[in-house]
């Protein structure tokens, strides 16, 4: 960021970005596995400008005037839906929200018919969350507008991974070379999957620490399905020397389905607490995609401690989603 000095003498031109907008070639955002490092860098660079817009007295620019953005959520959400809605509104797009439980979907309308309806109503961008992995990919094959995946099943949540990387870059200067430890239920976590892709593409060193029953099978054999990460079942060894400790939400139904013996055991072995956090670098960041179960996967002290950037992640989410909307809908109409 450029710094301002009262006399104007030390005012410097913004540094030339390492990338140009021509690096961008996506019409949809479904996952990060098909992103290049340049494209991710471009999103982070544009998000920086968007953050400046959000700091203005009037937090609105006319870049997407006349464009229609629709959110289609088949699952509950607080921050992701609000964040996308605010992002679209800050760019002056028209936004409509559709929640599955309050729509004709309850009358049995299919996903594709619903999407075609949104298209007929003029959606330029559809932001979609669905419990079924791959649903946004199917959607992208049926509509001309852009589809942004706002979370599908266990598969991907690309905008969350991008805002996580934006937050890391804001604090650490670069994502490349960072030691990032992801702790918790990586198997059922779309956030962790997208982060593993994004972080490895950007050149970070990823360590995953999960109970054996909550570790994705494919992660043990890197290849087309997963990039190479370090698997460390011992939480103390996993956290040691980390720049970023990313904690995932433990869904309580994992206990009921027998994947974990008891909540107390999970807390004992895998909870990120003050004592364990001391093993990370002194300036390590603590991240959590939310919503948090305080006292379960993360202690309250760590969740609200000085190293926690959980609330900042939410704020940065709006800027990163503005960047995505600008890149998808801000240029020439397809």
């Amino acid at each position: 960021m450029t710094t301002w000095h009262e006399d104007g003498s030390t005012l410097v031109l913004p540094p030339k970005a390492a990338v140009t907008a021509s690096a961008w070639r996506h019409h949809h955002i479904l996952d990060l596995d098909d992103f290049t490092a340049d494209e991710i860098e471009l999103v982070l660079h544009i998000a920086d400008s968007m953050k400046e817009v959000l700091a203005r007295p009037v937090k609105k620019v006319p870049a997407l005037r006349g464009r229609t953005v629709m959110t289609l959520f088949y699952e509950n959400s607080t921050r992701t839906r609000l964040s996308f809605e605010l992002a679209a509104k800050s760019l002056s797009a028209d936004v409509s929200n559709l929640t599955a439980s309050a729509s004709s979907i309850t009358k049995g309308e299919s996903l594709i018919d619903t999407l075609l309806t949104l298209e007929s109503l003029g959606a330029d961008v559809v932001i979609m969350r669905h419990p079924q992995s791959g649903a946004p990919n199917l959607a992208a094959q049926h509509i001309k507008g852009s589809v942004i995946n706002a979370g599908d099943g266990w598969h991907a949540h690309p905008s969350q991974a991008l805002l996580d990387m934006y937050t890391m870059k804001a604090h650490k200067g670069a994502v490349k070379g960072l030691k990032v430890t992801i702790i918790g239920d990586t198997k059922h976590s779309r956030v962790s999957r997208s982060n593993i892709w994004g972080l490895t593409i950007m050149g970070a060193e990823v360590t995953v620490c999960s109970p054996p029953t909550l570790l994705p099978v494919g992660l043990r054999e890197p290849g087309d399905n997963f990039p190479r990460v370090r698997i460390e079942p011992d939480i103390n060894k996993a956290i040691a020397g980390a720049d970023v400790v990313m904690v995932l939400r433990l869904q309580l139904e994992r206990m009921q389905t027998g994947l974990l013996p008891s909540m107390r055991e999970y807390i004992q072995i895998y909870q990120v607490n003050e004592e364990r956090l001391k093993l990370a670098k002194p300036d390590a960041l603590v991240m959590h995609p939310g919503p948090m179960n305080e006292g379960l996967e993360i202690s309250s002290g760590v969740a609200h401690g000085s190293q926690s950037v959980v609330n900042e992640q939410v704020t940065n989410g709006v800027a990163v989603r503005m960047a995505l909307l600008y890149l998808l809908a801000g240029g020439k109409k397809a």
């Binding site: 005012l11 006319p62 890149l327």
Partner: protein
């Protein structure tokens, strides 16, 4: 290679000294002034004007940076979206007199976008426009308050301002027509 050099480094230096004097003459009080440079080349020009005013009158004038990309009216027709940069406006602009600085005044559309952007930051007392080159061909009812040099030009020609801060030399030159603007 340029067809014709219109302003040399010395011409640019003298012109910016003259514009600085005009700004001083035109604005009775310098205390409420803010110079805002439009990215990219308006910014070094604004800084040089601020330095001149400091030399002539001893007054520090704050300098801001304005990126108008998000306010452009041609976003739809451009092949590539512009890469965004951060805007930096020093403090509250309400009741201040803003001097908007750009390198070339042409269709007036960039100025229109800059006016929209500035007004989102508050309600300035007045906005004045300073440009190093006015090449004509206005498409909107916009004019400059301070003009370095009027250069009548053809649409097909490209007028390029180069400054040491962003390029290698200080120079204004006419280049033959190119397929796509810079």
């Amino acid at each position: 290679m340029p067809v014709k050099v219109i302003m040399t480094a010395e011409d640019i230096r003298r012109t910016l000294a003259r514009i600085a004097h005009e700004i001083i003459e035109h604005n009775k009080s310098l205390s409420g002034l803010i110079l805002v440079g439009m990215l990219t080349r308006g910014v070094p020009l604004a800084k040089r004007l601020a330095a001149n005013i400091k030399t002539f009158e001893g007054t520090d004038i704050p300098v801001g940076i304005l990126d108008i990309s998000l306010y452009r009216d041609d976003l739809d027709s451009r092949e590539f979206k512009p890469l965004l940069n951060s805007t930096l406006i020093p403090g509250d602009i309400s009741q201040k007199t803003i001097i908007l600085v750009d390198d070339v005044l042409y269709t007036g559309r960039s100025t229109r976008a800059a006016l929209d952007a500035l007004i989102d930051f508050g309600r300035p007392h007045a906005i004045q426009l300073a440009v190093l080159v006015d090449r004509g061909h206005r498409e909107l009812p916009i004019r400059a308050d301070y003009i370095g040099k009027n250069i009548p030009s053809a649409h097909s020609e490209e007028i390029k301002v180069e400054l040491t801060e962003t390029d290698t030399i200080d120079q204004v030159a006419i280049y033959p027509a190119q397929e796509e603007g810079q």
